[in-house]
């Protein structure tokens, strides 16, 4: 296994900041429902990334402990 993938943390963090900024812009311009939808979409996208990494980790643990 190579080094740690630092980039994915920065990716997710920057994605979160962008979502937060867009959310406040949309909210201030009076489009609350779009803002909520945007946050939901962002959470789903990030969740897919996290689930992929979790799957990788759990399969490596299962291989390690011979499940």
């Amino acid at each position: 296994m190579g080094g740690i993938n630092y980039l994915v943390i920065l990716q997710v963090a920057v994605f979160g900041f962008v979502i937060a900024i867009l959310h406040s812009i949309l909210e201030n311009s009076g489009r609350e429902e779009y803002a909520q939808l945007l946050v939901l979409l962002g959470v789903i996208v990030v969740m897919f990334t996290v689930i992929r990494w979790m799957n990788e980790l759990f399969s490596s643990i299962r291989a390690m402990f011979q499940f």
Partner: protein
């Protein structure tokens, strides 16, 4: 030096988390989950060496491979259950965390039944 990398990753991640938590707590939770996964994934390959050493030690003694594999399975279940429970507790969901831990304990109990049976058999053989 994996530990230096892990500490750097944790520090940078925690700073980003604190900033993100004020505005978007749900994304902060996902980020902390990802951080935990990455740190854990860095530590896991080292376990392989330990497991191999344990296997070679067990090969020199009378311990059967069934017992060793059961033990390893129990350790794996404990790691995964603890990970899940900690994530749930981070999200202020203590009830779910307790249930995850309970499920882990039940599964470990079920895994250890064959070893208990072996112990019972040897005790019964000792009795006249």
């Amino acid at each position: 030096m994996d530990i230096v990398a892990i500490v750097f990753l944790a520090v940078v991640g925690v700073v980003l988390l604190i900033i993100l938590r004020q505005t978007r707590p749900e994304l902060a939770l996902l980020l902390s989950l990802l951080l935990g996964v990455l740190i854990f994934a860095t530590a896991v390959p080292r376990i392989g060496m330990i497991v191999n050493t344990l296997g070679s030690i067990a090969g020199k003694t009378e311990v059967g491979s069934l017992h060793l594999s059961t033990l390893l399975k129990i350790v794996g279940v404990a790691y995964i259950a603890e990970f899940g429970a900690q994530i749930c507790r981070d999200a202020q969901e203590g009830a779910i965390a307790t249930k995850v831990e309970l499920a882990g304990k039940v599964i470990i109990m079920a895994l250890s039944v064959p070893i208990v049976l072996v112990i019972l058999d040897s005790v019964l053989q000792l009795l006249p």
